[in-house]
């Protein structure tokens, strides 16, 4: 090899994973089948809030094929309390969180009993033989009513529905001024309340778990994002020795934060497998998944922005109510708090106050969902910038530009204490405007208004940033998070020169195997094809903090890179010994150690083979090149971008059609543009889905009305415009590759762009907000000047059940 190989990093390689995933030639948890394996089904409460007065499972116990029926009372002593790793305040109220309800249910969908049978069908059939008597308790559904003085309580023993209140104030922190003074002295103030509707992660693969207790270690396969955390939490929750548990996340079909959880079903399956001494499998149905897997968002956001007449923002006050649902799951209380750092977004805001009260309701617990806290914040501030521009009679892009951090001002420490390492909002915005034909569309908008066209055009803007790459361990510590934010990586050099990369990141659709191979191929100078990436098994990948918060590349890959550096350092004295020179005379490039100034070289594969033989190594050198590393990031990563959306609103029907969508993202250096493109597209769709389609709706008795995918409207490609995407590249200065996260950016950015476009289209008709999702009926009612909080999906009892015929179809 005389020519330097073309670098792998930057190549739009097809993903290594795709052939097996697309053809189904893989192992999802649900298609794992073990000798003697049993099947579990669970009975869930149809009641949102009730006391369990009696459970009669005698018929189920007699049902064919049934080996065990357990209720909460049967496992009360051993099930522990599901973990919450993020006590945001010292006085946070945390209810006991049983995996199986013992004497009270607090949301519809909570597990009350489980059956283990020889077949999945027998387990399912036997559920019908369990009779549960409930005594109604009052439901608690509305956030504002829940915190009233005379509110009914979800957990009477806590004495309140308020879990905690978390406050950041720039005057107190010394990072800025007093926001109340800024508001009092403002030339202009705008106040708005936005509702972040409740969403459901709706990952493609339902959750599934298999537990095999027959070995010395109990092995759990789970469709999880977090095998390492899960293992630790099982040990801590169930009091089993950590070294006796192995957790495997095989190929996992999406998560979006929804599988960042220690689930009741995982715990129950574990307990029952252990009790029966046989492998047990549980796979949820889609309806179970929608009802009981954790939800996302669900906040009421009140914002007050203060500004001067020239558009300069002088203060921002944010007051939130965040719906926890019935329990605090793994990071439930911290999700809205992550937003605290993002309301100031890309803007220089001199005074800032954030207060969030976390509230219990008798609904499914909320927790992380793609973006977790940052989409809520970004939505609110980007909506406010448009409202402020309207108030001032300025172009919304001009108001943004007036306030954003200039390229030459980086690194910039914000009012909420974060230091943004790099960014170029000017470049991304200029490129987006160019691709979008901003001026042309504004002209068309004016023409349509002029002639009173039935179809009005609106332009929506979102100049966003976000904090990802969770996270510097010290920062997490300062936020009382229960773990660090480091990641682990290792390299095993095989005797034939092939390479095994071990990562603590746990892929569930991201393409780690491809991206890590590209990075390591460049670093070690070995072919892309010669690298295997091992992940998701606590046995092969012994340490890790898993995948969420767009952390894999900016944290996980850095650990791998650092391990590769160590491999090279270990190989160097051996290569020198082989070539009879001094290690100091060697340089490493393209997979070869070359004696500086000569043609003499030795490939790293030759060194690997020499190490394997170990016949002739320098004195005191151990016969191994294998290395590992743990990387703790020094900062978050701050991708940003400018998204522009053109929406056509049919004013006769309220129907919204997205005409064009331009996303110019800056995610720093790009390892694989194809993967980045995929992340952006998927992210955009999920964010647009919040703006237009998705909402988890409960009726007045606390029953989820959107319990199937016929009612919970996940859009498809047919509902989307063709996206125009491009990138600017402002490398991160805080990691070796200059990369930033991309997993959540599209979702964070797109929701406000769409809603801003809709409001912009019909603002001249007297509309200044439409509640999400912006359904045709809501848009139409807004145009009619009807109630702003117009009845949404499922507001009518019986609404939302689409056309599933309860009588059973054709007759």
């Amino acid at each position: 090899m005389t020519m330097a190989a073309e670098p792998e990093v930057g190549k739009g390689r097809l993903r290594k994973e795709d052939a097996r995933l697309i053809t189904g030639r893989t192992r999802w948890t649900d298609n794992i089948s073990l000798p003697g394996m049993l099947h579990m089904a669970v009975l869930r409460s149809p009641m949102a809030h009730a006391r369990i007065t009696n459970i009669d499972a005698s018929e189920a116990r007699q049902a064919p094929g049934v080996l065990a029926v357990v209720t909460g009372a049967d496992v009360a002593d051993e099930q522990g309390s599901l973990p919450c790793a993020w006590p945001i305040t010292e006085d946070m109220k945390t209810p006991n969180a049983p995996s199986m309800a013992v004497d009270q249910v607090n949301f519809a969908g909570e597990v009350v009993a489980a059956v283990v049978a020889r077949s999945a069908a027998e387990a399912q059939d036997a559920l019908e033989g369990i009779d549960v008597d409930y005594e109604d308790l009052p439901v608690v559904l509305d956030l504002q009513e829940a915190i009233a003085d005379d509110a009914d309580l979800v957990h009477p023993d806590l004495g309140t529905n308020k879990s905690a209140t978390w406050i950041f104030d720039s005057a107190e922190a010394g990072t800025g001024g007093n926001v109340d003074e800024a508001i009092a002295g403002a030339e202009v103030t705008v106040e708005r309340t936005f509702r972040q509707q409740r969403l459901i992660p709706a990952f493609m693969e339902p959750r599934s778990v298999v537990v095999d207790p027959t070995g010395e270690q109990t092995t759990m396969w789970s469709a999880t994002q977090i095998p390492h955390i899960l293992r630790l939490m099982l040990a801590m929750t169930l009091n089993v020795p950590e070294h006796k548990v192995r957790v495997i996340a095989p190929d996992v079909g999406g998560g979006f934060g929804g599988k960042l959880q220690v689930t009741p079903e995982e715990v129950i399956t574990f307990l029952l497998a252990r009790k029966l001494g046989r492998p047990v499998k549980y796979t949820e149905t889609r309806t179970e998944s929608l009802a009981s897997a954790h939800h996302g968002r669900d906040q009421l956001q009140k914002l007050t922005i203060a500004a001067r007449r020239d558009g300069t923002v002088t203060g921002l006050k944010v007051e939130l109510l965040a719906d926890m649902g019935a329990y605090l799951r793994l990071v439930t209380p911290g999700v809205p708090i992550l937003g605290a750092f993002m309301y100031n977004a890309i803007y220089k805001i001199p005074a800032y106050h954030f207060a969030c009260t976390n509230v219990f309701t008798t609904k499914t617990p909320t927790d992380a969902y793609r973006g977790a806290g940052r989409p809520e914040a970004t939505f609110a501030i980007e909506r406010m910038m448009d409202e402020l521009a309207t108030e001032l009679g300025m172009d919304p892009l001009e108001v943004r530009e007036k306030n954003w951090i200039k390229h030459e001002e980086f690194p910039y420490t914000t009012v909420s204490t974060l230091t943004y390492d790099s960014g170029n909002y000017e470049a991304a915005t200029a490129r987006a405007k160019e691709l979008f034909d901003y001026d042309g569309l504004r002209r068309e908008q004016a023409e349509r208004r002029q002639r009173g066209d039935t179809v009005q055009l609106g332009i929506g803007i979102s100049t966003f940033t976000e904090m990802c790459g969770l996270a510097p361990s010290r920062v997490l510590g300062s936020l009382s998070y229960g773990a660090g934010g480091w990641e682990y990586g290792a390299i095993r050099m095989l005797p034939t020169g092939k390479v095994e990369v071990i990562t603590g990141s746990s892929a569930h659709g991201q393409g780690h195997e491809t991206a890590w191979s590209q990075i390591v191929a460049d670093k070690l100078g070995v072919p892309f094809e010669d690298i295997e990436v091992l992940h998701g098994d606590t046995q092969s990948s012994p340490r890790g903090l898993d995948t969420y918060g767009s952390r894999s590349l900016t944290v996980g890959a850095m650990a791998v890179l650092s391990a590769a550096d160590k491999v090279i350092e270990k190989a160097k004295p051996i290569a020198a010994h082989m070539m009879e020179c001094s290690p100091d005379d060697l340089e490493f490039s393209g997979g070869k150690f070359t004696v500086r100034g000569t043609d003499t070289s030795t490939g790293i594969a030759d060194v690997a083979l020499a190490v394997f033989a170990a016949h002739d190594l320098p004195d005191g050198v151990e016969p191994s090149l294998d290395s590992d590393a743990t990387y703790d990031p020094e900062n978050f990563s701050f991708p940003h971008g400018t998204h522009l959306c053109a929406a056509e609103v049919d004013t006769e029907t309220g129907q919204v059609r997205l005409r064009s969508y331009v996303a110019v993202d800056d995610v720093g250096k790009v390892v694989n543009p194809l993967i980045v493109e995929g992340q952006v597209h998927g992210g955009l769709v999920q964010g647009i889905a919040q703006a237009l389609f998705e909402e988890a709706v409960y009726d007045e008795s606390g029953t989820l009305m959107t319990g199937t995918l016929a009612d919970y409207l996940v859009p498809s490609a047919a509902d989307m415009p063709s996206f125009t995407t491009d990138r600017t590249e402002t490398p991160s200065t805080t990691n070796a590759l200059g990369v930033k996260g991309v997993g959540e950016a599209g979702t964070i950015a797109s929701t406000p762009a769409v809603v801003n476009a809709i409001v912009d289209a019909i603002r001249h008709m007297g509309v200044n907000d439409v509640e999400m999702p912006c359904t045709p009926m809501r848009v139409w009612q807004a145009i009619q000047g009807g109630a702003q909080s117009a009845a949404g999906l499922g507001a009518e009892p019986g609404g939302g059940m689409g056309s599933i015929d309860p009588e059973g179809g054709a007759r």
Partner: protein
């Protein structure tokens, strides 16, 4: 998502199917394409003891001409209906409506007769069937009878089919040379109609000679918009005339509120979409 246990038979002829249905009694269900029944079974909203699958009955598939009518076999898939040349020529409204049903997967499995017999008020095919005055041919142990579309749809998910009867054929009068459009309004592509309007018109020059209009999801059964039809006949096909005629769209409707639309909005949509459907058909 495991259905309760049931027996399954797949007869090869209509006679065998009718006999199987009679033998099985009330607790049996007939399965055509299964696009509505299978979800109901999997969610255990129904637990029939026996399924009688019509999928093996060759005589129930296909479209043929019979004098002044077309005969569409009940088990003809949506996909086959959409691209059938006879339907395209003589009953275009059925073809264009069928092309809006759900998504390609459903259209390959779902059947014309199954959809009509399911009688979902949000299903798209009943409105054009009603508007075009089709006839349903039913087979039972007592032989065969014909039910006009105007009598077939009785209530939510309820038809005039008697216990033990199978819908085997649909006879469609020929509307050769008519123009047609189905205006479907929903939130995502594969969703059911919030409101749908099926319109077929015969236009000579610029004058509407005949019109047939049916509404989806504006009552527990499809609604024939007779008032609109009468108001259209003899009118010039201008947007104003059509819009005026569409003001009659609510006659005979009895819409309900659901998560996607309250009554006022649904009524508003019916008028707007009727106007659009007729306008598009006239084009």
């Amino acid at each position: 998502m495991i259905p309760a246990e049931f027996d399954y038979v797949a007869p090869a002829t209509v006679d065998d199917a009718v006999r199987a249905l009679a033998d099985a009694g009330e607790e049996a269900k007939v399965i055509a394409g299964g696009q509505s029944l299978i979800p109901v079974l999997r969610m255990r909203l129904a637990a029939p003891t026996k399924l009688i699958d019509l999928g093996k009955i060759a005589e129930l598939r296909g479209v043929r001409e019979d004098g002044d009518a077309l005969v569409i076999g009940a088990m003809t898939s949506h996909y086959d209906v959409m691209r059938d040349p006879l339907i395209g020529e003589h009953a275009k409204l059925i073809a264009v409506t069928t092309s809006t049903v759900a998504d390609p997967q459903v259209r390959h499995r779902g059947t014309f007769g199954g959809s009509l017999a399911h009688a979902d008020p949000a299903g798209d095919l009943a409105a054009p069937a009603l508007a075009l005055d089709v006839e349903m041919v039913a087979h039972g142990m007592d032989g065969k009878r014909t039910i006009p579309a105007s009598e077939f749809f009785v209530d939510y998910f309820t038809t005039a089919l008697r216990p033990g009867e199978l819908l085997t054929e649909v006879r469609v009068p020929k509307y050769t040379g008519w123009h047609a459009h189905y205006e479907k309004f929903n939130r995502v592509a594969q969703a059911w109609s919030i409101v749908g309007v099926a319109a077929a018109v015969q236009v000579e020059g610029h004058t509407i000679k005949q019109a047939r209009v049916g509404l989806t999801n504006m009552s527990s059964v499809p609604v024939r918009a007779g008032g609109v039809e009468r108001a259209l006949i003899g009118q010039e096909a201008t947007p104003e005339a059509i819009k005026t005629a569409a003001e009659h769209a609510l006659e005979g409707t009895m819409p309900v509120a659901d998560g996607n639309a309250d009554i006022a909005y649904r009524e508003h949509l019916a008028k707007v979409l009727t106007s659009r459907a007729v306008t598009a058909a006239c084009r």
